[in-house]
């Protein structure tokens, strides 16, 4: 083999390593759908608690149903994708936030100290924290914008009327769950369509 051909082969090996490492890292879990699912769940809970029957059950039932659906879909998705440290870090943040939010809102509801201002302030602060943490790890500016919107909704809830707080919450839900979720799903499908590099 000539020196030039040997050099080409070595370079080929190096680029194979780089492309395969990139391919492994690109296989992060797809989580865009969870944003949409939870956004829809919040809207269903709000609508049910405002106009439905057995209104006290609206939030607990919807939240538990959304958790079960997330668990089922996530476990199906996990079967076809490998575990990554990044994926585990991401899911840990969101699971911890979900459990915290569930405990606090449940206790507030049971104790009768439930109030829309407190509810939106807590949800806004917690979702802001989780979105900000994820965005800083993933270096994703769009998600950080969502964190800012949630924090803004939390601040609005502390200072404004009940109607304004409700509007801020619905708007934050729409932009940070539905719009961002769809945007994340589009990004993920684009990334998948970039295609696998074959060895």
């Amino acid at each position: 083999m000539t020196a030039n051909a040997e050099e080409l082969e070595l370079k080929d090996r190096l680029s194979l390593i780089e492309s395969m490492i990139a391919e492994g890292r690109r296989t992060t879990e797809s989580w865009g759908w969870t944003f949409v699912l939870w956004g829809v769940a919040y809207y269903v809970a709000i609508a049910w608690s405002a106009w439905g029957i057995c209104r006290t059950l609206a939030w607990p039932v919807t939240m538990v149903a959304a958790s079960v659906l997330t668990g089922v879909f996530a476990s199906r998705q996990k079967r076809s994708r490998p575990n990554t440290t990044l994926g585990r870090a991401m899911s840990s943040i969101w699971i911890a936030m979900g459990v915290s939010m569930f405990i606090v809102t449940m206790c507030l509801a049971i104790s009768g100290r439930y109030d829309l201002h407190v509810f939106v302030a807590i949800i806004g602060a917690m979702l802001g924290m989780a979105n900000a943490t994820s965005s800083l790890i993933l270096k994703w500016k769009m998600q950080f914008a969502c964190a800012v919107v949630w924090w803004a909704a939390a601040v609005v809830a502390c200072f404004t009327s009940e109607v304004e707080t409700g509007i801020a919450f619905l708007a934050a839900l729409f932009f940070c769950q539905i719009v961002f979720g769809i945007y994340a799903m589009i990004c993920e499908s684009r990334r998948r369509n970039q295609g696998a590099t074959h060895a």
């Binding site: 194979l16 492309s19 395969m20 296989t27 490998p82 575990n83 696998a196 060895a199």
Partner: protein, 119 residues
């Protein structure tokens, strides 16, 4: 002249190198995922993974998930170290190739100007 590093023959195989490079970025991966990413056949992939397993570079775990068999592969510490060594050796070899290329070019240009290997 410094001695040139040797490339680890277990890792140097194209498919085995691709497999180790894929596994270095994930905690564990299923056989089917590795097959999809490398575009290899079941038989070839199994054989190459077995070689890596025998060398102690990957560990394998077989289990049943909802009555379906699942084979998970993980990179071992030895595999990680071997891949790092391989990349370093590869870089050194490329650096040496580059240096010898430069030397050849310099020698040729010196010869062209008539002040080359005259002494």
């Amino acid at each position: 002249m410094p001695e040139l590093p040797e490339l680890n023959p277990v890792i140097h195989g194209k498919l085995r190198l691709a497999l180790l490079s894929l596994l270095v970025g994930v905690e564990e991966a299923e056989f089917t995922w590795l097959r999809a990413k490398t575009g290899s056949t079941d038989g070839n992939l199994g054989a190459q993974l077995l070689k890596l397993e025998e060398a102690g570079y990957v560990s394998v775990e077989k289990k049943f998930v909802q009555r379906k068999p699942q084979t998970l592969y993980r990179m071992t510490e030895a595999g990680r170290a071997a891949l790092t060594e391989y990349v370093q050796a590869l870089r050194q070899l490329l650096e040496n190739e580059r240096k010898s290329d430069h030397e050849d070019r310099d020698r040729k240009s010196n010869a062209a100007y008539g002040n080359g290997d005259t002494d």
